[in-house]
Subunit: 242 residues, 2 copies
């Protein structure tokens, strides 16, 4: 009767907390998107696995809930932090009618801070996290958020910056940011954070607008004080120097 | 000649990644604020420790850098994620003149996702992270960010919401948010995330405005779709239901 929603971090088990690993070890059933289950095979030997494609999240959560209601200890695993565009919300929603079920969300390293660490220290001051996926959010809402976040001079961290279906989204977001931010604003991209083939680039906002990215990439756009120091992005912690 | 900037997560070693623990194990010198070093004493036995009060961050980073330049492997530890209002930026800045120094930032669980997990799943959609500390940032800048983030309907995660010196900051921030958000907006506070005495509360934005908080508290304010389900905050992942 216990359902864990477990954040496995952006990479393999090296960026997963002991608390997360223990929850999986305690579980007899582990549910997740196949690609994520593949990252943690050494933790799931002998366990019942519930795997399903990317778009079948609700069915997967319901199946996991039903195994927990049947008396099993179940982990739903989610890449990065389960609470950031992950499975935590859906898992809590599908358990709405079952307050008797013990639920525990275990936090992890999300792509924003994972990418930031690769790039240096761009998120040292106030920042906003925005997904450019309009699968579940109207594009007008996304544009408004990009515009207001840029006007507020937040550092921006962009999830789901592009895909085959969303070609041009990053370009449009950059064009909006360029209305209130300098084209020289330091930016960075990180692909495959913490995984094989991790790639990072530091570039300007003007260059970013012309960059092709895919769904495995996280993008960070600096604020008006972000600088490049020895190839790394650094946002000062405050506006005055102590 | 190696300097790690190590995120130790919001609590003790249970929320620290294996990669972070290994960096500390590999180091002969560990630098950090005393309270954070106390959370990881089992990892630092026999190591040289550089500890200094909260306000002496620059001196601490410089001392750590100098030990690395002298040939030691050094870890600067930082609570939560070192790249979010932590030590990563300052560490990279004080190493500006030493590109020969190998620097590695190791990400961790930040208070935003740590608090979100305790409260349920409030950060499931676009969110902004704002510190209410005006120690290094003009209060006008903070107010502008709070106002625009609320207008953009970001979920807000507030760091440093209050202290003895900053009594009234959260109240002022809530009053700004109430100009564009419903007083019934579900909110949450978490004190001592992942540590002894962890305390969480779910309340409305109107109630939050009248709540006293201290510097050990992280505050989350929902967006216009955030709901309370079985006592937990849940923000739906998108604006349409699949």
């Amino acid at each position: 009767m216990k359902l864990y929603i477990v954040s496995i971090g952006p990479g393999g088990t090296d960026t997963m907390t002991p608390r997360a690993a223990r929850a999986i070890a305690d579980s007899s059933v582990v549910a997740g998107y196949g690609v994520y289950l593949d990252l943690i095979t050494q933790l799931t030997a002998g366990k019942e696995l519930i795997s399903s494609p990317m778009t079948r999240e609700r069915e997967r959560c319901e199946a996991a809930r039903d195994r927990a209601l049947a008396g099993e200890t179940v982990s739903i695993v989610s890449s990065g932090d389960a609470g950031v565009y992950g499975m935590a919300g859906l898992a809590l929603e599908v358990c709405r009618e079952h307050p008797e079920l013990e639920l525990e969300v275990i936090p992890g390293v999300t792509a924003a801070t994972g990418a930031a660490a690769v790039l240096g220290a761009p998120l040292m001051h106030d920042f906003a996290v925005i997904s450019l996926s309009d699968l579940l959010t109207p594009w007008e809402t996304i544009e408004k958020r990009v515009r207001l976040a840029a006007e507020a001079d937040f550092v921006l961290c962009v999830y789901n910056p592009g895909s085959v279906k969303r070609a041009g989204h990053l370009r449009r977001a950059c064009d909006i940011m360029l209305q209130s931010k300098s084209p020289d604003t330091p930016c960075g991209t990180v692909r495959n954070i913490g995984r094989d083939g991790e790639e990072a680039n530091v570039l300007t906002l003007a260059e970013l607008a012309d960059t092709k990215v895919d769904m495995f990439t996280t993008v960070i756009v600096g604020n008006n004080r972000t600088r490049v120091i020895n190839g790394k992005l650094v946002t000062p912690r405050g506006y005055e120097n102590k």
